[in-house]
Symmetry: D2
Subunit: 135 residues, 4 copies
């Protein structure tokens, strides 16, 4: 299992008139969480795209347990339960400043060779960096 | 069963550098679809909030089958399979201009009394307008 | 002078906790207004990009006179005061449902040849369609 | 003069298919820059709203000099040239990772008493914290 935690503050523009973070904006927090998880391994998503591989999202699901409020620093925990193959699965747990669990989510992404538009395996380097976490 | 269809064009600001609509922006299309479905019944979500009831989202799940592209007019079909109670469930099917099914989603929302912050039943009027579709 | 008017409804996700449309979201309304103005001439921005010309924004300025509120259908009037050259200037006037002027804006864009990344003139066809409005 | 600098990384969802940060998303970076400037003084915008004062934006203008690219950490410098009264003016300078100036902007905001919806002076505390920078 591989875990990584990022903190992201809710922007004013991300709230809606209910006074909560708009439900559509959580997906951007997952994205930031995933990207920072990769960065913690010395990998960048921009580098992956530069090498010709992109990672579109195939599936997403989530539960909104409590609202995320303006200016709160949300703790975004990203969890990879198993080694990726052609597809890669992430789970997310969001905590507010009171350390309450406020949100649960999962996404399934696929590695795609940008030249052929076909699914592919991630780079060797990517897998090598993850292996130590899945023994 | 009650169904309603809305057309929404993908804005430039909704695309990302993959050249697709960003995966986080679909949720706003569900919202527009839901709101236009209510309007087709002579109801407005703003009117509901004015009457003291809001509808936060509890759960969402979706599958991205094919990308939605810039400037495409997406057909957003919203389906209510059963009469709402305290909670209301919506399904969504998105079709591109070639009439291909590109996206499937579901959301579960709850009616909340804004004064007490507690779940509640929707207004009588709301239920009366839906009843004919669920005999 | 060439003018075109589009109506755009404020989405819930575009509001913020002040209960107004978030000030950063107006720019997307300008974009939709510009694109629909081009479409009224039989031109599409996606077609322009497909032909190798893109139109990044160089300058923007605006005044927020009154708030745009959730679910209001905003009338977005786009005005081109003079024939474009390498650069193209647009003015915008927003009206709410009470026909009050609520927002004024201007943007300056440039035509860029995507192959060379250099400023260029728009296609002949584009200029020919605009000429009748500037005699 | 009072200055403050914040770093903000461009998210994937903030890019568009041109491969740049979408021109409408800069405004959210100004907001984050302003809010972090206030926080550096021990003030929070959420605290200001809780005390009954909000700060809607009246005017904005900006120049896009070079694109902000995905995953770049943008240095957002916020400058207050003079003491605020009922209105408060901010200037912004954005620098990319190569330390190139890529964007210039200005916003004018107004303090509004939320109870009366009328312009007002900011709290004493707010002015006291700023005074030392404007002697």
């Amino acid at each position: 299992m591989f875990e990584h935690t990022t903190k992201i503050r809710v922007r004013y523009g991300e709230t809606d008139q209910m006074g909560y973070m708009y439900y559509g904006n959580y997906a951007e927090f997952y994205e930031v969480g995933r990207v920072e998880m990769l960065r913690s391994l010395g990998l960048t998503y921009s580098g992956m795209e530069a090498s010709g591989i992109m990672m579109p999202v195939l599936e997403m699901k989530c539960k909104y347990l409590k609202p995320a409020l303006y200016d709160e620093e949300i703790t975004v925990k990203v969890i990879m339960d198993k080694m990726p193959g052609v597809k890669i699965h992430f789970r997310y747990e969001f905590f507010n400043e009171k350390e309450e669990l406020i949100h649960l989510a999962e996404t399934l992404l696929v590695f795609v060779n940008m030249a052929t538009s076909r699914p592919c395996l991630p780079a060797r380097d990517f897998l090598d960096k993850l292996k130590p976490f899945f023994k």
